[in-house]
Every structure is written in C-alpha cells, then in structure tokens.
Symmetry: C2
Subunit: 621 residues, 2 copies
C-alpha cells in the first residue's frame, strides 16, 4: 500500500490505473483495500469537494496517505442501494458552526465500510443534511474516526469488525456508529450543495453532475469483468488442451481424447471466450467515451445552456447504458468463472487451482456499486422513457437509433427480417447486428406496453414502472447485449487485417450464441424463422470448431504470466500434473494424524455402546 | 461419527437415512465425512461383495466402524469421469494367490479420496484387473491403508493431504499412491466378476447389474438438491418479508416498501420456490421407484429371461433419467443458492448469513458422482437411442410415451398445439404438461437429426454422438424438465384438498416460467404462438403475485428450525437486524488494531520516499 501510494502521487494517473487493473486480477482483496482509499474516499473528495476543500485535504495527505487513510461510509445495516433512505443524520448547529453526525437507530449503523475496522483515520460519511429542522437529502461529510497519532477512536465514534466474508478477506470491512459526533461545517463536501455560515442551503443548478462518479465505478467494472474472465478462460483453455478423457482406454493402449477436441467442451468454453472478447472491446470504448464525457462536463461550468443540455442528455444515456453494462458484464463474468471452474472437473474444487476463490472474490461485483437487478431496472426505465419521448418527436440518442420507426404508432418491426436462409446470410455480422437491434427494439416496446398497461389499470407512474419490471429488466438485457455486439463489431473493423478473420468469427459467435440462448425473442420479433434458428445453431457448433484451432493462441494473447494466472492447471508450458502435485504436497507436508489417539483410536477400539436394546420384530408394524 | 455409527448399526436404515438428510443441510462437510464410509465404502461392499465377503467385512466392523474406517478410491489425478480409463493396476500373482496393487504413473495417483488423509484404515480401490497379462477392465479391491493399532501406513502405501478446498473442509480428502502393494485374492469384491484360484476370470451374465449403486447416488442428489434449496429459500423469503427498501424515505417519514412486495423481487424468488417444490415432489417419487426397482433386481437371480429383460429395460431407463435429474437438479439448486444469496444484497456476502458457504459446499454436487455435462450426454444418448428403437417398432417406456407418433416417418408434432388463447387455457397444468411433452419430443427429434447428419457425413456411431452433443444435452434438459413437471403434477393430484390450489399454482408457475425461459423451443415446436407466449409471461407475473400471499407460509412448511436455517436473516421470528448485529459483534469482539505500530503508523508518518525525481512537463509528449 505504501509503495502504491508513493507511485500514485509521483507517477501519471494512467500508470496507477494500469497497476490497479493488474492487481484486481492478482489479488482482488488487496485491490479493494487500496481502492477504498484511492477510488472511493479520494474519489469522493475529487468529485464533491470545492477547490479549497480539495487543497486542504491534499495538504493533509489525503492522496499520498501521509497523515490520512480514508474509507467510504455510504451503506448502512438497513440500507444499501437506496441512498436516499439512509438514516444517519448530519444536523447543523449554527451556534457552533458545526455538524452533528449521528446514528439514530441500529439500522443506521454504517455497514460494510471497507478499511474501517483496522485502517482508516477518516471517513466520507453519507448522511441526511438537516438544517433548521429541514432535511435536504443525502450529502457527504468528512468525519475523523481515529486519532492519527494514537489510533484511539475519536469521541462518539464506535467501530467493529464485520469479520469473515465470502471473499476478499484481505480488506477489513467494518461497522461504524456515531453518537453526536461534532465536525466543522467545512467538512461537508460542498462542490454541489453548499451550506453557508448563516444556515442557508444552496442547491446546485445541475443535480445530474453528481452522476459522474457513479458512472466511473460502473465503467471500471466492465474492464474488471473482462480482466477476470481472461484469467478464468486462460486456465480452462490451457487445461482442456492437456487433459485427456475417454475415447481410448488402458486396455486398448490408445491415448484418450483431449477435452478441447470434444464438440461439447468447445461448446462449453468458446462462447465464453467470445463473451470475454466482447467485454474487452466494449470496455475499451466505454472507458474512452467516459473520459471524453467527463472532460466535457468539467468544461461546462454551471450555466444552463444548450451545450449543457447536450452534455446532460449524453450523461443520462451513459448513466443508463453503464448501469446495464455493469449488471450484465458482472453477471457474465461470474458465470464465466464458474463455468470455467466446472470445466476443470473435480480439480476445479481444489483451492489451489484458482477459480473457486476467483468466484468468491468476484461475486460482490454483482452487488456493490448498485445491486445488479436494481441497475437493470434503472436502465430499463431509461429505455422506456426514451421510447416514450421519441414517440413525442424527441430525437433518439445514437445507441438507441434502432428504435427509429418502431416507436411510431404506424411503425413496427415487421419489415426487419433476415433476408436469406443460408448459414452465411443468417450468421453474418451485419445480419446479427440487425437481428439484435430488432429484438432490443421489440423488448423495449414490450416494456412500454406493460408500463402503459399499468397506467391503464390506474396505477401511478412509479407503480406502473414496478408493474412492468420483468419486461424492463428484459429490455435492459436485450439492449445491453445489442450494445456489446455493436461495440465488438466496431472494434473488429479497426483491428489489424491479420486478426480480423478470427475476431470476426468471435464476434459472430457472441451474437449467434447469445441469440440462440434467447431464440424465443428472435422468433417473436419475427427476425428469424424457426429453420433459420436451426441454421444459426449449426453455425454456433461450426464456429466453435473453427475457433478451437486458435483457442490456445487467443488466451496466450491475453498475455497473462504464470504469476498472474496463478493456477497449476493454467501453466503456459502445459506441465499441469507435475506442478499441481508439487504444489499440493509442498503446501500440505506429511505429518502424523494429530487426533489419532484422541479420536480415531477410541472410535476403532470401542465396544458396543448403544443404550437401546435390540429392536423387536413385533414392534415393526 | 461415533454416535452416528452406533445408531446406524442399532436403528432401522430409514432412520439413518433421515438423519443423514438433515445433516446434509446442517453440515455438508461432516455429512461427506460420514458418507464416504457409510455410503461409498460400505456401499461398495453391499453392491459388490459376495455374501461370504460381506460376512467377513461385517465381522471386521465395516459397518459399525469398530476396527475399520473406510474410504473410496475411484478417481485419480489424471482420471475422473472415465472409470474405464483408470491407470491403477491390480495384477494377479498366481504363485502367492495375491493381487499386486500399483500406481504406475503420476496421473494414476488416487486423488480426492475423502477420508484418506487422516481417517481411513481401508480403501475400496478401483483398479484394472490384470490376469495372465490380460486386462479385464476396472474392478474393486479392498486395500488396507493403515495399521489399525498404530495407524502407521502399510508397506507400499503413500498418502498425503489435498489441503484446502472450495468447500467441505470438514473432510480430509487425500491422495494415495501404491507401490506393489500385495493383498489376498479374496480382497477383490467378487459379486459380479470372479477370479478363481487358478486364474480363471468369470464375467457376470448381466453387466448392467452394477448400475444400481450409481443410480442410488444420483437419486439421493435430487433429494439433497431439494433439501438445500429449501434452506436457501427460507432465508431469502423471510428476509424479503422484513427488509424494506425504496418507496419511502427519511424526509417524508414514510416506511419503505418490503422487498417481497416488489413484483421484481417476487419474480426473482418465487419461480425458484416453484423449482424447489418440483424437486421435493420428484425426489419422493424417484426414491420410491428406485427402491422398488432394486427389490425387483435382487429378486432376479442370474437368469437371462423375459422378466430379467423387463427389469433391465427399466433399469436402463432409470439410469438415464436419473443422470438427467442429477445434473439438472444440482445445477438448479446451485443457481437457487446463488440467486437467493444475491437477493440478500450486500448481506449475502457476509460469511454469517449462510449462503456463501452453502454455495461453496454445494458446488461439488455438479461434479462428483459423474460430471453434470457428461451425465446429460448419457441421458441424451439414451433418448436418441430410444427414439431410434421406437422407429423400428420397439415399445416406448412410459416416461417417453410422448414420443409416440412423433418418431414415425409420417408422424410429427404439427397437431400438438395450444388450443385457446386465454390465460387460463395457455397456463393450465394440462396445457403445460402437453406443451413440455411436445417440446421434449421436438428436442429429441432434433438430436436424432443431428446424430443422423453425423452418420451421413461418414462418422462412426460414437463420433456421430459427439457431433450431436449440443442437441443431445438440450434434449436431456427438455426431457428432464418435462419429467419434473409431470412428477410435480402427479403429486399435486394426490395432495390434501386444502393444499391443492397453491400447489397447483406452484406447479403451473414451474411449467410456465421454465417455458418462458425456453420460449424459443415452444415457438419452434409450434405448440405456442408468439401472443400465447406473451400471455404466458403475464401469467408468470400474476402467479408470482398470488403465491406471494403464501410465500412465508410455504417456507415455514419446510419446517426447518432456526438451528437448521442457521442464518440471522432467516430467523422464524423476523428479528433480523438485532440478531445479525449480535452475531457479528460476538464473533468479532473489539480489540486494538494489532498492526498499528508495525504497519499503519509508519505509513501515516512516512516522509516522501519516492526514488524518482519529479516528472518533467517536457517529457510528457
């Protein structure tokens, strides 16, 4: 941490980001431990502090951890995704010009706070701002937790360790309770909402500006999903190229067949590889887009003009799209890890082959920074609202241009069909892009229909959205897959000519396999016929057998060293069994059974101890 | 273990089985530790020993663990699912009337052997039987591993600990290597294949008789999947009835909405509840059928007559069906556990809320006793072969009667359609049963088509099966879901009148939700139209909202005590937050940060340590 903090202050940010992306694969728990300070605490300062506040905290050592280690106090025992529902209060005491931070109930206890249990001196606390008896919603306050010299808890601060978790035990998650803790008014981060000395609350002109930080977390999880999936696939693919099973036997003397040469094993792994490449390429593009957008945002100033409108519109679209991407990419990666683990057979269950821990470590990605299900609904709500706006004549954002025509009263999707029945026609990248766009449009229209059915039943707007939540979630899924396929295809077009054939095939496999998984939607939208779906299934099998030829090279291209792969089954040199045996035996050296005398001998040498007499046959009925 | 062993010898078997089924939920690792002796080692004796051998080993204490603790030595470092490919050899030495058991290579090392590392005195070793230079395939041999008095390893036996695993660390899995270990000829289990003093090998008339033990393991995993799913659902459902989120906020003073009252949360949990009931009822029926079949089998004797033919046919069908059930029920349960865990939000990531460990413990069910993917292919191969036999005029087994008509050259599925568009007609249990039967028939015909395409390309039979493996797997899935729905429906008919409405609705939800998940198949088979599928989706949402009223009662009906549920979030009294906080704080009492002086103070108080000088702006380009 010390070394990383030094490098983070002395080297360009991009370098630190690359370092962090490698660490997130090698040691996700450690990554989190550094990340709560660097990404969350310091990120909160960057996003929410005024320039003067930023200068103050930088001077205190908030970036370099010279004097301050930070944590991020958002979630509570009773409140997670609903930040507006947090119970912790920060009440202005105008007399002393201080805020009083307080946990009024048990459920207000700050919970899951990474770094709080052992490490942090300061916390960015999310609390309800209360001024003159009025609540202004959730704002952020820097609260000191511990004396930086003695590490004693500050008065009114109570902290405990959350203990064992599913994964990432390298970070000390804790709970925090505040009992009327006083902080200077200036410790409220006031880039957006400001509170003056006299207790006037000045709200920001553009509330959406606070979205920026949320989007960053989501975008980074697309990259992280890709990076972790790369490791899982490297292990599974290399092992499948070494492991032999069936197809020969000892008595005949013939060698068994390599796993990777079985069509079913190709079918297990290679669509996951296509998904991984889809995430890799999409992550590249959304990261670049995000940075561009943040640049525009910081150039904006605070004026409400046409340029601001455009940026805000773009921000809303990115906010919604990144919500869907975060949810479906983290779910996709979690599934890839476990499918790869299962593909290792029994050895996947060993702690030393790497993927059981990877699963436990990664699983939290589906929950933190917004529970996936809730994010999909956010994305779906945006899609429904955008379709309704388009009906009223509003222009569609580029990523939703596929709704054009479909949203008008007279328009529809009936002219969007696959033209041609051959495997080439059914599975070309252009056809697949059109197919997914058509199906996404159809799913959004179904969600609009359900939303309007809700309204028709007399439900209010929010309840009508709840009523349509299953189809909203589904619309978000279809839109996100469509987005992934389009980004993947766009990146393939820009790739070096020599790589284009295999990358094109991977993009086709991604689109075709995902379409077969959701074939009902394609039949219902009318894009494909039943026989065309059968042709597409045949293409998936064919594409898998073609990609199999490059499978090992494709994972080699991820360029993860044996240190990063960290699994004897995923070794570059294929020397799987020797190294696995060496690892297991070196970590578990032979020693006498410690409980032979105390437990096993008494078991083996006991005489009959049953208290009950023999059973009587006459009692059996 | 001692107590259980005493009870296993003194009480009726059914009682022990009930005990074990409870233990498998409360402590899966311990269950495995007892199970490797009682289920696998003793099970091998029961299934493969002659009466005289059985008497000998019983006398030695093989059931009661008085003198013997057993383990089961099948899998090897290089060989799992392919028992025929095992490398360990057992070579008859006619001179001394002994077998020489040997591990000829590193990959022949027995691996994953539960109980071997610390506990077992004897092992049921699977090895290639070699007599007079000829290999007769894999048979079972009892090999002593340790001196029962001193616990020293026997000469030629080498054992190590496999160490940390994904879950079930309560059992000591180990590896075993044999270096020319001599055992008496009579230690080969000879119920089926026999080897005489003179080295004559007598093979059994009915090779299929050995299937019995395999089927038992698979059938018991259907029950186990149901039992574990019940616990996960109890936790998720009770928590969802207590946890509130959104729909109100602190500033308005309104209470937030309970999770379970959100349509999307009902949609997340209640289809899983329907799946759980499907497994509960199916487990009951297949367990009873299995016991009946085993009775018929043991009455058979060794004659090859018509009665034997019928039993063998039934055995084959049960073998295939149980393979599909084992695979899809364990996958279903694993998914239920993780979906329930995710539905707990962040708290699902705590080790104290129960479901992260449940996932890690359960995951191995998808691999052991036959890797799921391989089992689905076995099942699919049987389905293809049966359809081909039926084409040639062979009668169909009852569970495949839905293939009737469909397999003939002139027949087809075109007349199997949903008659009526109303929600009642689309979603009735009879319609759903017919729909699933039709789709399963269609999937099997597609697998037959792909198999025949393979043959048409000039592939041999085995390669044609490999070629058709994706559609075979799919056929197995459709057949198994159809089987589950039919068993569920049959049990509902026999249930008390007062329970029938809610159970019927659950069975409909199971059939309808699964159909929506696979809507493409229903559209392709022509059973449902697109609009009917939309109606079915509406029914799923409606059924969820109806079942929500009974959701808590349905999980209460599982009758798991707080001890069995073992999660503060799943408490019967709903006192979730207090008890969760108590548990976390009592397991993690406050103490000073142990590494403050050694690590944190030096971090906070360090001066700049960067070796590199400042960056120069002129270098940036």
């Amino acid at each position: 941490i010390r070394r990383l903090a030094d490098l983070a202050t002395s080297r360009p940010l991009e370098e630190t980001m690359i370092r962090m992306s490698i660490i997130s694969v090698v040691d996700p728990g450690f990554w989190t431990r550094f990340g709560v300070h660097f990404g969350l605490f310091f990120g909160a300062l960057q996003g929410q502090a005024t320039p003067a506040q930023m200068a103050y905290w930088m001077d205190k050592g908030a970036l370099s951890m010279q004097g301050i280690t930070g944590c991020f106090g958002m979630t509570e025992l009773g409140h997670g995704s609903n930040v507006a529902g947090l119970e912790t209060t920060a009440t202005l005491d105008e007399r002393t010009d201080e805020f009083i931070v307080h946990s009024p109930t048990l459920t207000a206890t700050k919970w899951w706070i990474g770094g709080a249990a052992h490490t942090a001196t300061h916390c960015a606390v999310y609390a309800q701002l209360i001024v003159k008896g009025q609540c202004y919603g959730t704002k952020t306050f820097v609260v000191q937790l511990r004396d930086t010299k003695t590490f004693a808890l500050m008065p009114g601060v109570n902290i405990g360790d959350l203990g064992k978790k599913m994964g990432r035990d390298q970070i000390d998650n804790g709970w925090i309770r505040f009992t009327h803790v006083r902080i200077p008014r200036s410790h409220m981060l006031m880039k957006h909402t400001k509170v003056t000395r006299s207790g006037e609350v000045i709200e920001p002109p553009l509330a959406q500006l606070a979205y920026g930080a949320l989007i960053q977390g989501r975008v980074s999880m697309v990259s992280d999903s890709a990076n972790v999936a790369k490791r899982a696939l490297t292990i599974a693919t290399r092992y499948a190229s070494v492991r032999r099973q069936f197809g020969g036997n000892v008595s005949s003397g013939a060698a068994e067949t390599k796993l990777i040469d079985y069509p079913i094993h190709q079918y297990r792994l290679l669509p996951l590889m296509a998904q991984t490449f889809a995430m890799i390429f999409t992550a590249r593009e959304v990261t670049a887009n995000y940075e561009k957008l943040m640049g525009e945002l910081s150039d904006l100033g605070e004026a409400k003009d046409a340029a601001a409108d455009d940026v805000i519109k773009n921000l809303k679209e990115t906010h919604a799209t990144s919500a869907g991407l975060k949810a479906f990419c983290t779910w996709m990666c979690l599934n890839i890890i476990d499918q790869c683990r299962q593909s290792l057979g029994g050895h996947g269950y060993s702690a030393y082959t790497g993927l059981s821990q990877a699963y436990s470590d990664f699983a939290v990605h589906c929950t933190w920074e917004g529970d996936n299900t809730i994010l999909t609904l956010q994305c779906g709500r945006y899609l429904v609202a955008t379709a309704l706006d388009a009906r009223k004549g509003q222009p569609l954002p580029e990523n939703l241009s596929y709704l054009k025509g479909a949203v008008s009263a007279t328009g529809g999707l009936s002219d969007r069909v696959c033209k041609g029945d051959s495997a080439e026609q059914v599975s070309s990248l252009d056809t697949l892009k059109a197919a997914w766009s058509s199906v996404a449009a159809n799913a959004i229209l179904n969600a609009v229909r359900d939303f309007e059915t809700g309204l028709g039943k007399g439900l209010g707007k929010d309840d009508a959205y709840e009523f349509s939540s299953a189809s909203r979630l589904h619309a978000a899924r279809m839109h996100t897959y469509t987005y992934l396929l389009h980004r993947f295809a766009a990146q393939v077009e820009q790739s070096p000519a020599a790589l284009r054939p295999v990358l094109t095939l991977l993009a086709q496999l991604f689109g075709a396999h995902s379409a077969v998984q959701h074939s009902g939607e394609f039949l219902q939208s009318g894009f494909y016929t039943g026989p065309q779906i059968e042709t597409l299934k045949g293409f998936v099998t064919h594409a898998c057998s073609e990609i199999r030829k490059d499978a090992v090279s494709l994972t080699d291209a991820f360029n993860y060293t044996d240190y990063v792969v960290n699994s004897p089954l995923g070794r570059f040199d294929g020397d799987v069994y020797e190294k696995y045996f060496e690892l297991v035996t070196s970590l578990n050296p032979a020693k006498p059974v410690p409980y032979f005398d105390s437990l096993i001998r008494p078991l083996l040498e006991r005489t009959n101890e049953t208290e009950a007499g023999p059973e009587l046959e006459i009692d059996e009925e």
